[in-house]
């Protein structure tokens, strides 16, 4: 026995060692994203066009434009208009500014040639620019010399990419555009983390393995004695629960835990909130809540922090799914008549949580501070000032100033990460407490069911873990393959390609707002919808006791029809807003 026991720590250490090994492998030996770069090949003669791949990459296009447009003045290697370059490129015409085309008395199609042209490559040569975005802005507005502004944004990005490449600071495998450029420094090399997708999938696989092992163990566990399983055994014979089990009642009616009855929606909402808390905390390590740096730090998290894209996408997808799951939970409660006494107050708490989730979604969405949120922020907050009497005060309270300003961002940050989150956490715990205080989830009376079966907390936790596991896998897959949206940083004047859509859960309000008065349609209507929902348990007839625990109880018809109509209208409005421009 002793010899066998002594082997256990060894095997445990072995497992951890294997884990460490896999981790090290995943860190170092993952297929790094260093594909053969389609770098434009230097032509043999410095004046020949660069040889590019087919189809040309962004970098190739940039090299071609540089060759055709920039090279004459800036030199083939970005060295500037040096004597050597003038000799090499123009030979007899090397004193360009004395020639007829480029002197001050140039003909209409000519232009005056500058005497000094800055070098573009080498330490400190692009010293006036910090980020690739600033370099792009300059090129787009000021270059080429004789016809500023003639480059399309696409071409200006191509040239910017080529300049970064020549300076050795272009990260591989990230197409340069407005979404990422402000996080790419001109003078410092940053590289995108090696393949995070693989690591995310390894995490998902590890999670799967653990879950399968755990479930198998649970399935093979010796069945509990009949009286324990039925929850009718004396308290002294019940197994002592650990902390997680202790959070659950010793046993509940089996009817309260059926997937087809609860849809698992409430539990999933709790799980999503936990994921949101954890990933949000991680994002806070990098997020900088100032107007200049907020979008840059989001870009940094998304493109450069190892696993940052996974964390951000998990946060995004959990938030989106939370709205859906919470709505499903609300519908389940209405359609099963579970809102009736004694659960009336908990219905209100749940409704409050739903509103908090929407507010958290909106404030979190604004924290991106990119072009994608500009108009949603403007329109959303202006709805507040449309309220008579208290509107302007309310606006200042929410926005922190009489106009959208830097303090708006700080205020939304505080709303999001602390004020609203703390209230939501408190109401969530209260909501869960009330579920137990009110006698658990609404279920058929034990006397009315043929099999008044009960399940223990151990079975309950097993179901919860299974649900969390499935949801976790879905989340990881969504987060790995569908990135959260990200736009170009807000900089001064609005750009025309800006997205003017509200976030999807407010699309129905946006559609309503097209019809007329903002206060009536954008504030009063949503408040009335909320009020109608809140009044359901207090005004409408409650389902009979013997109807509880079943879908669509007869005496809850009015509430069911009312909510079904409301949901249909909201869905139609959302569809209208989504599919018309």
């Amino acid at each position: 026995m002793n010899t066998d026991r002594s082997r256990i720590p060894f095997i445990a250490v072995l497992f951890v060692a294997v884990g460490l090994g896999i981790l090290l492998l995943s860190v170092t030996a993952l297929p790094r994203a260093e594909k053969v770069e389609a770098t434009p090949i230097e032509a043999e003669n410095p004046l020949d066009p660069p040889i590019v791949s087919e189809p040309p990459t962004q970098l190739d296009q940039g090299a071609l434009i540089f060759w055709g447009v920039c090279m004459a003045c800036h030199g083939n290697e970005g060295q500037g208009l040096t004597d050597e370059w003038r000799e090499l490129a123009f030979g007899e015409d090397k004193d360009c500014w004395t020639s007829k085309c480029h002197a001050s008395n140039h003909p209409p199609q000519g232009f005056e040639f500058p005497h000094t042209v800055p070098a573009l490559v080498g330490g400190g040569k692009l010293g006036r620019f910090t980020s690739a975005q600033q370099l792009y802005d300059y090129i787009y507005a000021m270059m080429p010399w004789w016809n500023p502004g003639s480059l399309t944004p696409e071409k200006a990005w191509q040239v910017t990419a080529y300049l970064l490449k020549m300076n050795g600071t272009l990260p591989a495998d990230i197409p340069l555009d407005g979404k990422v450029a402000s996080a790419i420094p001109v003078h410092r090399k940053v590289s995108a983390p090696p393949n995070d997708t693989t690591l995310a999938l390894i995490l998902a696989a590890a999670l799967t393995a653990i879950m399968l092992g755990w479930l198998l163990q649970e399935i093979l566990r010796r069945p509990l004695p009949a009286d324990l399983a039925a929850g009718t055994a004396p308290k002294s014979r019940l197994p002592r629960p650990n902390f997680v089990y202790h959070l659950h009642p010793p046993s509940i009616p089996a009817a309260q835990s059926r997937w087809r009855y609860t849809l698992g929606a409430g539990g999933l909402a709790v799980f999503l909130m936990l994921v949101l808390g954890a990933t949000g905390l991680l994002e806070m390590f990098y997020y900088i809540p100032t107007p200049e740096l907020a979008p840059v730090s989001v870009e940094t998290i998304h493109f450069f922090v190892p696993l940052g894209a996974l964390v951000r996408n998990l946060h995004y997808w959990s938030a989106q799914l939370l709205v859906i799951v919470a709505a499903v939970h609300l519908l389940r409660v209405v359609f099963t008549g579970a809102y009736a006494r004694p659960r009336r107050f908990n219905f209100l708490l749940g409704l409050g949580l739903f509103v908090l989730a929407l507010l958290l979604d909106f404030t979190g969405y604004v924290l991106r501070w990119d072009e994608g949120i500009r108009w949603a922020l403007t329109a959303g907050t202006n709805l507040l000032s449309s309220i008579p009497w208290i509107g302007p005060r309310l606006y200042e309270f929410a926005v922190g100033s009489s106009v959208i300003s830097p303090s708006t961002l700080v205020r939304f940050y505080t709303w999001h990460i602390y004020a609203l989150s703390a209230v939501a956490a408190f109401v969530l715990i209260w909501h869960l407490f009330r579920v137990r205080r009110d006698g658990g989830i609404a279920a058929p009376l034990p006397t009315l069911t043929e099999t008044p079966a009960r399940i223990t907390r151990f079975d309950l936790v097993k179901r919860e873990v299974l649900g969390m596991f499935l949801a976790g896998i879905v989340l990881i897959l969504l987060a790995t393959f569908l990135p959260a949206p990200l736009g170009a940083p807000i900089r001064g004047t609005p750009t025309l390609e800006t997205d003017t859509r509200a976030p999807w859960f407010f699309l129905w309000v946006q559609q309503l707002l097209k019809l007329g008065d903002p206060f009536l349609l954008g504030v009063l209507v949503p408040v009335i919808v909320l009020g109608v929902l809140a009044l359901i348990p207090y005004v409408l007839p409650a389902p009979a006791k013997e109807e509880l625990g079943h879908w669509f109880p007869r005496r809850g018809r009015i509430a069911q029809i009312l909510v079904a109509v409301l949901v249909t209208i909201i869905l139609i409005l959302t569809a209208l807003a989504a599919f018309t421009s």
Binding site: I11, A12, I22, Y286
Partner: protein, 155 residues
Amino acid sequence: MLFRPQSKRIYHTKHPMSKYSRRDFLKLTTDGLLALGATLGIGGLVRFLSYEMDPAPPSEYDLGPAINFQPDTTTLLMHIPAALVCKGNDEFVAFSLICTHLGCTVEQKNDKFECPCHGSIYGSDGQMEKGPAQKGLRRLRVTKNEAGNLILHMN
């Protein structure tokens, strides 16, 4: 989660020669997988938090033409922070102004340097004169590049 053999219980199927049942094996496997998952998770967390967002300060500074500095003068370069002492004849000595005690920037006082935080005092060439600092201000290397500019090396 700690592994405990349950082999004495009769309801486990096990090989007659083995002290361990199938259940023990499964438990061990699961615990191992949990450990593996935790290791991966912690590894991912470390990776996530290890990103350096802001660049390190430059390793060298261009101080401009050497002729700008008069012999027998001490120039304070507060943006670095460092002091450049010109001894004449193109002989330059530089030292950091960061106190070697706990990193406050020292102040120049009558030819000496005094730390405002804990009172360490350094001489005009940065040598230690009074504690609590244990050693003098850090010497920095000064070179001249081909354009005649002084380059201050931070390491």
